[in-house]
């Protein structure tokens, strides 16, 4: 019986894709349980689905983080059936703007910024983009008056998600193992 040799870098890439798929599955899970929490406003979302993205920032390279975001958004679109609607476009724009800002904040501040700070940056970016899209494509220019309320709520939810992510980062043994396993070559 012959065995097929797989180059270590190929195996590493395959394992990482597997891990990204797992994290995206977690995102879908968190987005499902988010419905259990009461909403102060009809369009408000807590953003729990961003938790796996937030904790992945320290040991996945930007390429894999973007892939994770894409899988999360596509998965949510398929599971919720919103793939062909404005909800998908809002989610896509909000998620990608948020991750770009979070990656930049991490790059810029390095060890001097906690996950709470990164989460706040991401939430603010996502909210600005989504308010911009709402005003320009849905509600019209007069809707700027509700922007402060949404920004306040969005910042609050970013703070909550960040605090939880920070707690998970420091206490989870599973995450510690993942960090050791995938973190060593996060710059590929």
């Amino acid at each position: 019986m012959s065995t097929v040799q797989v180059a270590p870098d190929v195996r590493s890439r395959y394992e990482k894709l597997e891990f990204v798929a797992f994290l995206a599955g977690l995102c879908l899970f968190f987005s499902t349980i988010e419905y259990l929490f009461p909403k102060p406003l009809p369009f408000f979302r807590l953003g729990l689905a961003n938790l796996p993205i937030l904790i992945s920032l320290e040991f996945l390279s930007p390429g894999y983080v973007f892939l994770l975001v894409l899988l999360k958004v596509l998965g949510q679109g398929l599971v919720n059936g919103t793939l062909a609607s404005y909800v998908f476009l809002f989610s896509l724009a909000g998620s990608f703007s948020s991750v770009i800002v979070m990656l930049s904040a991490r790059k810029l501040f390095g060890r001097h910024i906690s996950l709470v700070g990164i989460s706040l940056f991401g939430a603010i970016a996502s909210n600005i983009v989504q308010i911009f899209l709402s005003v320009n494509f849905i509600f019209g220019l007069t809707a700027w008056v509700i922007a402060p309320i949404f920004m306040t709520l969005g910042t609050g939810s970013g703070l909550f998600v960040g605090l939880f992510a920070e707690k998970f980062r420091t206490q989870s043994r599973w995450l510690d193992t993942m960090r050791q396993h995938y973190g060593k070559d996060s710059q590929d």
């Binding site: 599955g25 899988l71 998965g75 007069t142 995938y182």
Partner: protein, 209 residues
Amino acid sequence: MAKIRKTDSFLSRNIAAVHLFAGATLILPAYLFQQNLLVRIAQVLLFAWLATVNGKRIKWNYFVIMVTSITFFHTLNPFGEVLLSIGPYTMTRGALRGGLFRGVTIVGLVFLSLFSIRPDLKLPGKLGGLLGQVFYYFERVFEGKKKIRVKAIIESLDEILWDLFIPGETVEPAYIEGSQTTVRGWLFLFVLVGTNWFFLFYRIPFVLL
């Protein structure tokens, strides 16, 4: 391979996911070019009904608030015949129609998406394969949700994560059993697409606003 459960509805039993999606794509121009508000509202209600037939739960209060708020913000820019004046607020026919039209259109697109997109709609290529793995893990995590204890949230989450993912252990991608389009399904799609296109060209004698 792991199998993901699917909804058991007339649409999922009789129409393949890709054909349902293609049908909705054909309806889209007939919906977007429709200028009669009454017909458009009827289309939206039809899409909402189809979404519920497809097993989706519609949060009506969310969509009512959505249409109301979009309409309200549009009426803040008055144009056309004045319908109502309360203090500094003036509601005009043009602004009301424009707001209602936009609100209803946006909500209708969500309903169209809700009834035409199913989890068994396969995306092509490597990305589609990766999404299969995502759904596999989603199902596995979902099965373990009863283990979550709010008072020991991190510890219980950790237990679930250890159970489900260990580096180097790979899984086969999940699949969702799809259905074939039956004769009834084709007939249903033909009538659905045909009706929407018919009302694009046939001018009904009733006009709302």
